[in-house]
């Protein structure tokens, strides 16, 4: 396998070391799709592999991506004035959970689309997460088939 590289630890904003971009300002040269508007997404997932895949896919489909590993980091980023058209939020985050993060973001007056994601669909989890303010609950993997319809909706409404 490839030799170890010093990656950011979970919970920190990824800076895209080596070839593993977590978004965060990097844009793909030739995305698979283009949009009428500039679309920005925030990925919140504590699992690095997941975060890289989610960011990578959104970036590949023409979305500008920021990625963080905790709910606290997401809230801090939004509180600093960063705006997003889409937030992809893992349910089972450490410390501040996905539902707690969603609730806090909504209480800050943020009305953008929030997609809640989890490794397994569970009705109870979905209800909890939806009640906290997400717009849709999706089971991983986070694939283009799942997110493109939301991007189209967002792009049309902007």
């Amino acid at each position: 396998m490839a030799s170890d590289t010093d990656y950011d630890s979970d919970g920190m904003r990824g800076n895209g070391d080596g070839g593993l971009s977590e978004g965060n300002g990097r844009r793909r040269k030739h995305p698979f799709m283009t949009w009428r508007n500039n679309l920005r997404a925030l990925v919140v997932d504590n699992a690095r592999t997941c975060r890289i895949m989610e960011s990578g896919l959104l970036d590949a489909y023409g979305v500008e991506v920021e990625a963080v590993g905790t709910g606290e980091a997401a809230v801090e980023l939004i509180a600093s004035g960063e705006t997003f058209d889409l937030i992809v939020l893992e349910m089972f985050l450490p410390f501040m959970s996905g539902p707690e993060t969603a609730r806090t973001i909504r209480e800050m007056g943020i009305s953008c689309k929030i997609l809640g994601i989890a490794p397994m669909y569970c009705e109870k989890d979905a209800q909890e997460f939806l009640a906290a303010g997400i717009d849709e609950f999706l089971e991983k993997p986070f694939t283009p088939e799942l997110f493109i319809p939301f991007l189209m909706e967002i792009d049309n409404q902007k």
Partner: protein, 152 residues
Amino acid sequence: MERNQMHKHIFLMRQSFFDQGLLDEQFIQLEELQDDANPNFVEEVVTLYYRDSSRIILNIEQSLERNPLDFNKLDNYMHQFKGSSTSIGAKKVKAECTQFREYCRAGNGEGCMRTFQQLKKEYAILKRKLENYFQQSRQAGPSETACRPRMN
């Protein structure tokens, strides 16, 4: 081995991962993210997966030694592990994660332990096969085909 033959061998090796159910479509998504700017993306992500998930496996192992078992904790660990395994398309590993979580929810310690052994086996098999695949791919160098072969 002649270069074309090497590429053919690698192609068949890759195809076998899907035929044997080791990988699913998510691995193809991973491959599609590899480009000239990130020429080793797939190998790097898989390496990261094995590095990060080895910590979770150790946590699960230690938790399974406790008496009584904390099924909530085990479920949480496995939840994380499943998410990462899903993200790289590790199909058999993912299936074992699902089974393990079902045993956790049923409070079935023996089932958890049995499934965990099987999970570690699948995890190791996939690691070995992918390591071999990446090594041979590096030796063969870039293929001349315009498009990456897709899974049927």
